[in-house]
Every structure is written in C-alpha cells, then in structure tokens.
Amino acid sequence: MTMQKEEIKLPNEIIEYIEKNSNKKGFEIMILHKIQEIYGYVPRKIAMELSRKLNIPLAKIYGIITFYHIFKLNKPGKYRISVCMGTACYLKGGEDILGEIENILGIGVNSTTEDGIFSIEIVRCIGCCGIAPAIVINNKVYGNLKKDQLIEILSEYTKIEGKEIKND
C-alpha cells in the first residue's frame, strides 16, 4: 500500500479550523500550530494529509516546520526536558548539564526515549539567570544544577511511571 492511497482522516477539529480560517493571512502557520496543539508535534501523516487537503506541497510544509523552532517533528516525551542555553546558563556549564542528561537517557537533543517518557530540547534564556545553569521539566524549574544531581531529579519522574533509569 502506498501512502497516497491510505485514507488518513484529519480530525474534525482540524477540518473545522481549516474551514473557519482558510482565508486568513499566514493561515498555514496557524493550522500547524493547531496540529501541534493536538498532537504535541506535527506527525508526518497529518502533514501529508494537510498537504493534500489544502493543495500545498509537502516540501513547503516542511520548509515552514523546520524553519520555526517551535514546531516539532517527533513526538515529545511525557516529560519534556528543556535545557537552557542562554548566555548565563551556557557560561555556567549548561553544555555539561546537557551532556550528562544525554548520557543518562542515552538520547540526543530533539529526540525522545524509547519508552516515550523523556525528550530533550534546547531552549534560549528562560529568565532564570540568577540560578544558572537551569533546566525545565514540563513546567518545573531546576536551578543551580550540578551534574551529579541530575540522576536523582530524573529518577523522580521514572518512579512516578513505575520504571527505573538503566544506568550502564
């Protein structure tokens, strides 16, 4: 079966949104925001369906999604770890913090652990320069971080999920 033949229906919510807004300027970006709001990212199948529905080339949609950092191509984890790389955090060792998180989880930036629990992304200044280096996990801020604290912080979340971090 080829992609083209598969019927992937856009959710009603999106179709209604398209009908309501399709004549507005910058509409493509609005609809992509809506999709991300629903799925947490822009799934390829939805992007493809959108391309068909709106008669916009898929290449153009991907041009937009990859141009703006806010759009995600991969499904984020249940807990989104945002590592601050603003000037203060960067100078205070933000890169080391990032490296350690990558080591512990075994994944890189903009990817999600296999079990879907964590994903890592880089953000610019989060306004917590006074407690640099800092990270945010979903909406909770962790500041004045040292590398050896990270395993404990991440374990809090794996415990909630009834899992353990495999540290090898």
Partner: protein, 588 residues
C-alpha cells in the same frame, strides 16, 4: 518578452551614461552595457533572491553597498560596478562561502565547470582564509539519475526556484534555518521517495556540484573493454547541436557525423542514431492518432510520451489522464529494443551480449531504462546504460580524442538512418511537427506542401495551432516546462468533468523548458539564447536532410517490410509500446 513600448531612462554605469529600460535591475542594466557583475545565485531563468551577496555594487548617495540583482535602477542613478574595494568585498564573500564548502575540487564532477571554483580562481584565492566549517552529509543516490550532495550546497536557491516555480514539482526545498539550512527533498526523505521527476533542471542550474547527474561512465568503459560484449551506441537528436560547445564550437553547430566517428574511436562496434527510433515512434504515434481520430474520439486528445520526466509527472499527478497517453515508447527505447531483436537477428549476434548505451541530453533517461517491464521487451534490458551529453564529453576528453579534427563518418545501417522529422524531436514543438507531417499523409494520402510548421516553433511556453487537414482542423497544443503543462492538463480535466469536447486533439509535452535541447543533461550555462541557438541547429539539420518525412525514410520502410509488418501490428505492440500506471507522489 512582450514587444510593449518601454520607457527608457538614463543611468551612469562606471561614469558612462547609458539608456536602458526603466524596469531593469542594476545587474540586468549592466548586462546591457556589456558589464558583467559576478553572481553565484542569480540565473537568467530564475528569480533574484539576493542570496549570495557577490553582486554588490556602489550607488552614489547610498551609504551601504547594494545587491545589484535585487535593486531596481532609477533615473540618473550613478553606479560603480567594479573597483578595488568591491573586489575585496566580493573576495571576502567568496572566502566565506568557501569556508563551508568542502575542498574536494579534484574529485568533484563539476571540477572545471564549477562557478564557485571559477570565482575562487579569478579572485585569486589561494588559501583558505577562514577556519573551515563543513557539515558532513552523505550523498543521496536513490534516484540513480540525479545525485544530491547537500554538503557542497552553497544555498543559492537556484535548484529550489527551478523545481518549485518553473517545474512546479516541489521535490526540493530548504529545511532548517541559518547555518543548519540545507536543501532536502520534501521533509528530508530520499529523492526517489519524493515527487522528483528526474528532469535534472536542478543540476542544469546548480552553480556547484551539489546536484549532479548519476555518473555511469565507468560502466561504459568497462563494457568497452569486455571482450564478451558487443557494445552498441545511439545518440539523441539534441546531443548533436550542443556537444560541440564543449570543444569550442558555437552552440547549434551540427556535429552528428563527428560524434559517430568519436563513438567508433571509443570502441563501439555499431553506431546508431536515436533519430531512427524517432522516425519509428512517429510511424506508430501518427497511426495511433489517426486511428483514435477516426474510431475512438473519446480517447483524444492524444498526448505524447517521449519524455520520461513528463511520463513520471503524469503518472503521479494526473493518473486519470493515462488513457490519453500515447502508448508508443520513446525513440531511445525503440532503438534499444530493435537493436537487441531486429539488428541482433539480422547479424547473428547474441542479444545477451549486446551492450546498448544511449547518449542523451537528459537525466531522466537513466530512470526510463528500467521504468517498467516493457523496457525489457527484447528479453534483456533494452538499453543498458544511458549517459548524458556531459558524460560523453568527459569520455571524449579522457579518451584522447581530437574532436575538432575528427573525420566525419556515417552511422551503421539500418538503425542509423534518419529523416528530418526524426531530428526535430530534440526541440519543443518538434515531436508534434514530425507527427503531423506523417499524420497529414495518413489522412490525405499526400504530403504537406509547407513542411515547416512555424506556428508551433519557438520558446512560448504554451503554443496552440489549428492545422488544416483537408476539410478537418486538427487542434494541437504544445507545452514545455511542467509549470506550463499543468495549465493545459487542467483544461483537459475540466472538459472531461463537464463532458464537453476537449479543446485539443493532440498535445505535445516536454518537461524541460525549450525541450531536449535544454535538457538536464546538456552542457552547462543554459539560457534562452542558447535554447534558440541549439534549436536552430536542430531545424537546420532537418533542412539538410533529403528525406523530411518519417514515412519516407527508406530504412524505416525496410524495417516494417522485413520485421514489424505495419504500424500498430502485434509485433509492434509487443516491442514498441508500453503501459502506464498511477504512482504515488510521495512514497514515504
């Protein structure tokens, strides 16, 4: 260009007053004054993007340098295009581009034809000034026709513009931004999974080696030294009027017989001409048109199918029009299959040992040779390797051939003899003109008095004409450049949904603007001027032929007498016709 009256204004370029059209950019105005401002991103066929920054000039009264490709001229504007300071600025820009361009010139396919390399040489850049910062990215060879080597991309945007705005295929787009920006097929998939139709216009416009043809000269060299093989070759119509450019000859110079000689020198045992195949295509296609017109009108318009990029496009985007496609194979596939059947039988050669190479102006022919099972009608792959004109140029140079002094030679019989109708296949409008010459004969039993159909020649994107055939009027349409073709197809689609008579009876399509003379595999530096020069060469070749009608080609007659019977016979259908099927636009 329209002939509308344009207002002229006076400007000063390098302190010299000139008068030019008011709506030009500085870059184009300078061109009128025969001053060449260097640029890597602006191409005559394409929109100005201001991406590269090399075309900067000084304008009196402006504090900053301006990019001449995007700045319109104004009355009494005083412009300096070249001086020592501009030289330094441009040199710096080139050095910056070189800092993220791999230093692989020696092993790059564009070595010697690269526009960036030329500037590096002209501007005297002898060492890398900035610390190199190269992003590794593996090559995408998936189409086996076009290679994407994103590592070498200088982000000029020409390929994206030609793919999106001229061809309207939208296979290529920039993804990411800033330093991470790069070209990628729709959402970073393989090119073969994308809407790419392999036309190669991206490679014809790329200033560097980021988009190139899938090179197969080694395969051919290996076949030429393999004693078990019988290497045979054919050349396409458009090759003969462009090949000479790479040897200092003027565009449009006809070098057919020198190319035959060259191919024999390289070691081919038989030299054929795709033009012969074109004559056979016409016999079949004109008969197909005649039969549909007389018996099966609802299958009109008949749409030509010689162009593999166009075939790929239609299968992907307009599968509902497949029944309108001519089922006749393209001339090079016909020459291929006849070589491995008719020629092999006649000369007692094992077709399994024949190695058929086609020299094409085209990158998509590399895709066509294994497109469907019908491309193996002889029981073997009918064409083993398809090379671009550019690849043959390289073989000629490395083969030590003094092209200029080569004595002209004749092709081998009988798949080498062609009529004027066969040769004009290489330019937009040519297939239609050739088909009409024979269709007219089929309808009336007479030949056209005025052989040359000037109304369907030239570079207009969509050409329409009504051709009088006795009391009938055949409505024809010719489109080239996929963007133009879309408009015509939508008209047909509309007439089908409304169940009214379609506006045309016969449509010719070529994917590349200008047709095969400006194909994706032709020598570089394409422009409208070059398109016209090469196409004039093709029409001159037609004029020089004693036989101007496919149906009068004595060798074509012989082929039908000895082998095929008549056009659209059972044997013709077995060997010379193909099938089409809907294909997905995206495979992933």
């Amino acid at each position: 260009m329209t002939e509308k009256e344009k207002n002229k204004i006076k400007i000063l370029i390098n302190k010299k007053e000139i008068e030019v059209d008011e709506n030009l950019t500085i870059l184009d105005a300078a061109k009128h004054a025969r001053i060449k401002i260097p640029t890597l991103c602006k191409h005559e066929d394409l929109h100005a993007t201001g991406a590269c920054g090399i075309c900067v000039v000084k304008v009196e009264g402006m504090k900053k340098l301006v990019r001449s490709c995007t700045t319109p001229i104004q009355e009494n504007m005083s412009i300096i295009t070249h001086d020592a300071e501009l030289h330094e600025v441009r040199k710096n820009v080139i050095e910056l581009i070189l800092s993220n361009h791999p230093n692989e010139c020696l092993t790059c396919l564009r070595n010697g034809s690269c526009e960036l390399q030329r500037f590096a040489e002209e501007f005297g850049i002898r060492e890398k000034f900035f610390k190199p910062l190269i992003v590794e990215k593996s090559k995408d060879l998936s189409t086996k026709a076009i290679v994407v080597d994103a590592k070498k991309c200088i982000k000029c945007g020409r390929c994206v513009d030609v793919c999106q705005k001229i061809q309207e295929v939208w296979a290529l787009e920039f993804i990411n931004r800033g330093f991470d920006m790069r070209i990628a097929p729709a959402g970073d998939i393989l090119l073969s999974d994308s809407p790419c139709i392999k036309c190669g216009q991206c490679s014809a416009h790329c200033p560097v080696g980021a988009l190139i043809e899938y090179e197969e000269t080694d395969k051919v060299w290996n076949a030429l030294r393999d004693e078990n093989l019988y290497p045979v070759v054919q050349i396409a119509p458009a090759v003969r009027v462009a090949f000479g450019e790479s040897f200092g000859l003027l565009p449009g110079t006809i070098t057919t017989k020198k190319i035959y000689a060259l191919l024999r020198k390289l070691g081919f045992k038989a030299v054929f001409d795709t033009n012969f195949g074109a004559d056979v295509t016409i016999m079949e296609e004109a008969t197909e048109f005649y039969e549909r017109y007389q018996l099966n009108r609802n299958k009109l318009p008949l749409i030509t199918s010689c162009c593999p990029s166009w075939v790929d496009y239609l299968e992907k985007y307009y599968p509902e029009l497949i029944e309108h496609f001519s089922t006749v194979k393209s001339p090079h596939q016909i020459t291929g299959v006849l070589t491995k059947t008719y020629f092999a039988q006649k000369n007692n050669i094992d077709p399994g040992k024949i190695f058929m190479v086609s020299i094409m102006p085209c990158t998509a022919k590399k895709y066509e040779i294994s497109r469907t099972d019908e491309m193996f009608a002889s029981g073997f792959q009918d064409v083993d390797v398809s090379l671009t004109t550019r690849e043959l140029v390289r073989m000629a140079y490395s083969g030590g051939i003094d092209f200029e002094r080569l004595e002209e030679e004749e092709p081998d019989e009988i798949l080498g003899n062609y009529s004027g109708a066969g040769t004009i296949f290489g330019t937009t409008g040519g297939v239609m003109e050739a088909a009409l010459r024979t269709a007219y004969y089929l309808f009336t039993g007479k030949n056209l008095e005025k052989i040359e159909l000037n109304e369907i020649r030239g570079l207009d994107g969509i050409k329409k004409a009504n051709i009088k055939v006795d009391s009938k009027e055949i409505k024809v349409c010719i489109a080239h450049g996929i963007g133009n073709i879309k408009k015509v197809l939508d008209e047909i689609k509309e007439s089908k949904t409304k169940k009214v008579k379609p506006p045309y009876d016969f449509i010719e399509v070529m994917a590349c603007p200008g047709g095969c003379v400006a194909g994706g595999g032709q020598p570089y530096q394409i422009s409208d001027k070059l398109r016209i020069q090469r196409s004039n060469g093709i029409y001159n070749d037609d004029k020089q032929q004693q036989v101007r009608f496919s149906h009068e080609n004595p060798m074509v007659k012989k082929l039908y007498e000895e082998f095929l019977g008549k056009p659209l016979s059972k044997k013709s259908h077995q060997l010379l016709h193909t099938k089409y099927k809907p294909r997905p636009i995206y495979y992933k």
